[in-house]
Structures are given as structure tokens and as C-alpha cells.
């Protein structure tokens, strides 16, 4: 079996073609795979659809990817931030398509993709602008909106430790979107702080089993 361990960020992300759908983990800076995003920028893939909770901050990472015109569409819950000026500019200029998804629907739609669910009735967003045009249904007296899975070609996530099989553990609230994104992408590429031996991670503590992981790159802070 070819090793899942990549020796460079660039070689790990260079498989990502133009027009790919790419999930990027993280909530704020916690769990954000900064090195993988930098690698994606260097690699140069364009016309990307990005799935992330936000739409970039400041002048680096996802914000830079947007500034460089590489992002065709973004699916996120909260694009507008004090320092999301690159997104704001691209959006106002009509250069980027935006799908705003309530954060819980975003997480659940990603999980649904990984779990083989064709769609689900969510209570979130019923009666709001974000449910316009979507199928709704009243079930046992409660109102729901039909939500569809979000699949991706690639997931770029950050974990704390990995073993060579791709088993992952996370750290504190940096766990956030990582475990569900890992299940929803055809290929999952993980930035980790430390690679340990097979057997070093307690089987009870593994959050993402290696079946969901394709490539691991160690990035020391």
C-alpha cells in the first residue's frame, strides 16, 4: 500500500485540478489548515468551489486565494467579517458566487454526503430567505426544509496527530469541521502537527479513522 505520508505540502495538494470542489476545515483560525491553503495557492489550481465556514480573513490564506481570482464559488455560513475585504470586493464585483448556508445545515449537509444520505429534513431556516425555493414539509406539527448533501473532490483539514494509516486525533475546538469534511470528500488531505507510530493512538480515542484519510503532511508550527 503506498504510504499516506507526503513529504511536502506542495506535492500533497498538487493533485487538485482546476474546477475542483474543495472543503477547507477550520472555524476562525482553530483547525484551519494554513499550510495546505498556502500550498493550494502556490500550486495554482483555479475556478475552485470552496466549502468553508467563512470566506477568508485579512490578506492571507483563503482571502488571498479569493484575491487571486481562483475561487468561482464559495459555500459558507458567515462570509461577512471585519476583515473579509477581498471576498467583499469580489462579491460586489460579481466575480464570485456565494451560497450562504446556516452553520448547522452546513455541518449536517457535509455529514450527509459522507454518510450516503440523499437528503434530510432540517428545522433550521424554515420560513427564512435561505429556504426560498426549497421543498418544505410539516412533520408531526413541526416545519422542515429539505437539505441536500454537500460532496467535495478534496477536503483540506488540520488535525493534531496522525498515524501512518491516517487515523487522526484533534485538539480542543480545532476539531470542528475536520471529522465531517474528511468523510465527504473523495480525497482528504490532512495537515498534522505530529506523526506517530501505528498503535500509538488509543483505538478508543481516534476521532477520524484512517479509511477517510488519503494524505498526511506534517507541518510543525
Amino acid at each position: 500500500m503506498p504510504s499516506k505520508i507526503s513529504d511536502s505540502v506542495l506535492s500533497a495538494v498538487s493533485v487538485i485540478p482546476d474546477r475542483a470542489t474543495v472543503m477547507i476545515g477550520g472555524f476562525g483560525l482553530a483547525g484551519q489548515p494554513q499550510a495546505l491553503i498556502d500550498g493550494l495557492i502556490e500550486h495554482g489550481a483555479t475556478d475552485l468551489t470552496i466549502v468553508n465556514n467563512n470566506a477568508g480573513n485579512g490578506d492571507v490564506g483563503l482571502a488571498l486565494l479569493i484575491k487571486l481570482g481562483r475561487v468561482k464559488k464559495i459555500i459558507c455560513s458567515f462570509p461577512r467579517q471585519v476583515d473579509s475585504h477581498h471576498f467583499d470586493e469580489a462579491y460586489r464585483a460579481g466575480k464570485i458566487e456565494l451560497e450562504v448556508v446556516p452553520q448547522g445545515n452546513l455541518a449536517e449537509r457535509i455529514r450527509a454526503a459522507g454518510a450516503g444520505i440523499g437528503g434530510f429534513f432540517s428545522p433550521t431556516g424554515y420560513g427564512t430567505l435561505l429556504a426560498e425555493g426549497k421543498e418544505t414539509r410539516t412533520i408531526e406539527g413541526k416545519n422542515y426544509v429539505l437539505e441536500s448533501p454537500i460532496h467535495a473532490d478534496f477536503a483540506l483539514i488540520k488535525a493534531h496527530k496522525a498515524d501512518p494509516l491516517g487515523n487522526l486525533i484533534y485538539r480542543k475546538t480545532a476539531r470542528n469541521f475536520g471529522p465531517v469534511m474528511a468523510t465527504a470528500a473523495t480525497q482528504t488531505i490532512v495537515q498534522v502537527s505530529e506523526i506517530v507510530e501505528v498503535g500509538d493512538l488509543d483505538p478508543e480515542h481516534i476521532i477520524t479513522p484512517g479509511i477517510f484519510v488519503n494524505k498526511i503532511v506534517q507541518v510543525t508550527a
Binding site: F27, G28, Q103, N105, A107, E108, T124, Y126, T128, T173
Partner: protein, 216 residues
């Protein structure tokens, strides 16, 4: 009943005092966060942050700051004993499955039916951004709103019908403002407390709503 309108701190204090012992609570970004300053150890309240933690402690300072440990407002926080971590889908499942007792949220408007508007000004050039607001609105067993009763131009923010885009329908149970506290009930909007110079009549005039009077 008497005295001055409530300050923001006093509003937070009132909300904190109304949270039952042992409750699981999510405090929204902004003013609601300050409620945590007034929760007592005896209340044994467990705070949830939707980015994947139960048992969140106070804001972190100095050496306590860990970039991997933040709240939904992206502020560094701390752990309390007995806390736990989980991923985003599990965190929102916890919220939407009705397991949280109370969510405390800010608002632009609340309707007489308990519809909440707090995510979008409706301005034509505004970039929409919702975060977890819609999930919190429908998920918790009770939603408490904390807000100023009026806009800067003096219009009431408790209204017959929302004019801002809705976050969730019929989801708010109680509204804390500087002038009064309101319960949303099947019978209508009930005033339970007034502060400063507000009276139930002055609130009826301000809101244009047939408020019910249950001030003591």
C-alpha cells in the same frame, strides 16, 4: 417598576438570574456573552459553544490563551472540569435536537408571535451571513432575546410583523430590554417587569401591541 432603565449589565444580570439550576445554555455572540459574568457557581450552568464544546470556561488571558480553544465569537476561552469536545455536526445536532435548555440571543426585531430577526438587515447591498443564528433560533428549548427596546430612531423592535428578514419563526420565549421584560405566550405578549419610567401603557403605545399586564 421604579428606578432607572436597566443598564446592559443589569439586563445580563436579570437573564443570569432567570437561568435555572443545572441548565445547558448557549450564549450568542455580542451582548448575550456578558450573561456569563453573572452566573453563579451554585447555578451549575453548563455553557455550550457551537464550535464544539460543552463546559466552556471564562475568557482566557495571558498564558491561558490557546489558539485551538476558542468560542463561537472566536475569542480564546478556557476549559472547566467536566468539559467535552465534539465535532461540528455533533455540536449542531445537540443544538437542533432540542438538548440545550436556553439560547440567549441578540435581535434586530422580535414579532408578537415570537418570530426572530437577527441575521440580516435586509439592506439591498448587505452581504448575507448567518453563522449559527438560525440553528440556535430553532434548536434550544427556550430562546431568550436581549436587546434595546428601540432602534436609534426610536422605533420599537417588538413588532406585529417582522420587517427584517426572519431568522426563525415562533421561536422566542422571552425578551429582556432596558425598559421591560416580555414573555411570548399563546395568549399574546405579556409584560412581566417594567423599569425606569416605562409603564405597560407606554409600552403599548410604543409597540402598538395589545400587551398583557403581568407586572406584579
Amino acid at each position: 417598576m421604579s428606578g432607572a432603565p436597566l443598564s446592559r449589565a443589569e439586563m445580563a444580570q436579570r437573564v443570569a438570574a432567570d437561568i435555572p439550576v443545572g441548565a445547558f445554555v448557549n450564549l450568542g455572540i455580542g451582548i448575550p456573552t456578558s450573561v456569563s459574568n453573572y452566573l453563579t457557581a451554585e447555578q451549575e450552568v453548563t455553557l455550550h459553544t457551537e464550535n464544539g464544546m460543552l463546559g466552556m470556561g471564562p475568557e482566557a488571558h495571558g498564558d491561558e490563551v490557546d489558539p485551538d480553544l476558542i468560542n463561537a465569537g472566536k475569542i480564546a476561552v478556557t476549559e472547566l472540569p467536566g468539559c467535552s469536545y465534539f465535532h461540528h455536526a455533533d455540536s449542531f445536532a445537540m443544538m437542533r435536537g432540542g438538548h440545550l435548555d436556553i439560547a440567549v440571543l441578540g435581535a434586530f426585531q422580535v414579532s408578537a408571535a415570537g418570530d426572530l430577526a437577527n441575521w440580516h438587515t435586509g439592506a439591498p447591498d448587505a452581504i448575507p451571513a448567518v453563522g449559527g443564528a438560525m440553528d440556535l433560533a430553532v434548536g434550544a428549548k427556550q430562546v431568550f432575546v436581549m436587546m434595546e427596546l428601540t432602534t436609534k430612531s426610536g422605533a420599537a423592535k417588538i413588532v406585529e410583523q417582522l420587517t427584517y428578514p426572519a431568522t426563525g419563526l415562533a421561536c422566542v420565549s422571552r425578551i429582556y430590554t432596558e425598559q421591560a421584560i416580555f414573555d411570548i405566550t399563546p395568549a399574546g405578549v405579556v409584560v412581566t417587569d417594567v423599569f425606569g419610567e416605562a409603564t405597560v401603557d407606554s409600552l403599548r403605545e410604543l409597540t402598538g401591541l395589545p400587551l398583557l399586564d403581568q407586572t406584579a
